[in-house]
């Protein structure tokens, strides 16, 4: 089993098909895989519908927008070294280059619910071992305004 890391983020949910809420970016050294995604809202409960997607990206983008920040993946096993995979959250000021129609997972979600997706072993979402390639979390539809979204990716490299 590879080394496993947790990536946690929390940012304003702004609907966009080009500016993601978060991204996990691999390197040429490893083939990073996402095997668990948890997504929910920590805002006051309300009935707001949203639709999210995980899409392939070939550049990392620029994360200097509102709430933009780098996320350091945390090793689940303290004996593991620091991750070579990087991650960012917030609203990208310059979105990554998204691969058209390359959606690896799409899901609708009500703000009141907490969503979790878990891959069976061997069925993870894979990022190629190519520099700056990654998987972006997009909010394609957002029924509410400025609703916070908390997300967690569990990655293996």
């Amino acid at each position: 089993m590879g080394r496993r890391y947790s990536v946690n983020g929390n940012c304003v949910n702004a609907a966009s098909a080009t500016l993601p809420l978060g991204i996990v970016t691999g390197t040429a050294a490893v083939r990073t895989q996402i095997y668990d995604i948890v997504l929910g809202s920590d805002a006051t409960p309300a009935d707001n519908a949203a639709k999210y997607a995980i899409q392939r990206a070939t550049t990392a983008g620029t994360w200097a927008g509102a709430g933009g920040a780098a996320i350091t993946p945390q090793a689940l096993d303290p004996a593991d070294p620091a991750a070579v995979t990087t991650a960012n959250q917030g609203i990208a000021s310059v979105g990554p280059t998204l691969t058209a129609a390359a959606f690896l997972l799409q899901f609708p979600l009500n703000q009141r619910a907490t969503f979790r997706w878990v891959a069976a072993p061997g069925s993870e979402l894979r990022i190629p071992a190519t520099a700056n390639n990654g998987l972006a979390l997009l909010s394609l539809v957002n029924g509410g305004s400025s609703v916070n979204t908390a997300f967690c990716f569990l990655i293996e490299e």
Partner: protein, 76 residues
């Protein structure tokens, strides 16, 4: 649900749906028997495909990633 999925969707702690992985693009989709959504089945991989046009031709995900990493494939 028939417990043969390759992914599980859990809402508020309850498994509400299963996802299947396309053997060509690696994407996951919700599999609902009898939904009418057209999917594919690759007789070489002996596995389901998502049904999109670019997954009609057999190029297993592992091979696709290898070619992309070598620069022999322009996009995933």
């Amino acid at each position: 649900m028939d417990n043969t999925g390759t992914g599980a969707i859990i809402v508020d702690g309850v498994v509400v749906a299963e996802t299947r992985q396309c053997c060509h693009c690696g994407g996951h989709f919700q599999y609902v028997r009898g939904s009418g959504t057209k999917r594919g089945f690759c007789m070489k991989c002996m596995a389901m495909t998502c049904g999109c046009q670019k997954c009609m031709e057999c190029l297993p995900e592992e091979k696709m990633l290898d070619l992309y990493e070598k620069g022999q494939l322009l996009r995933l």
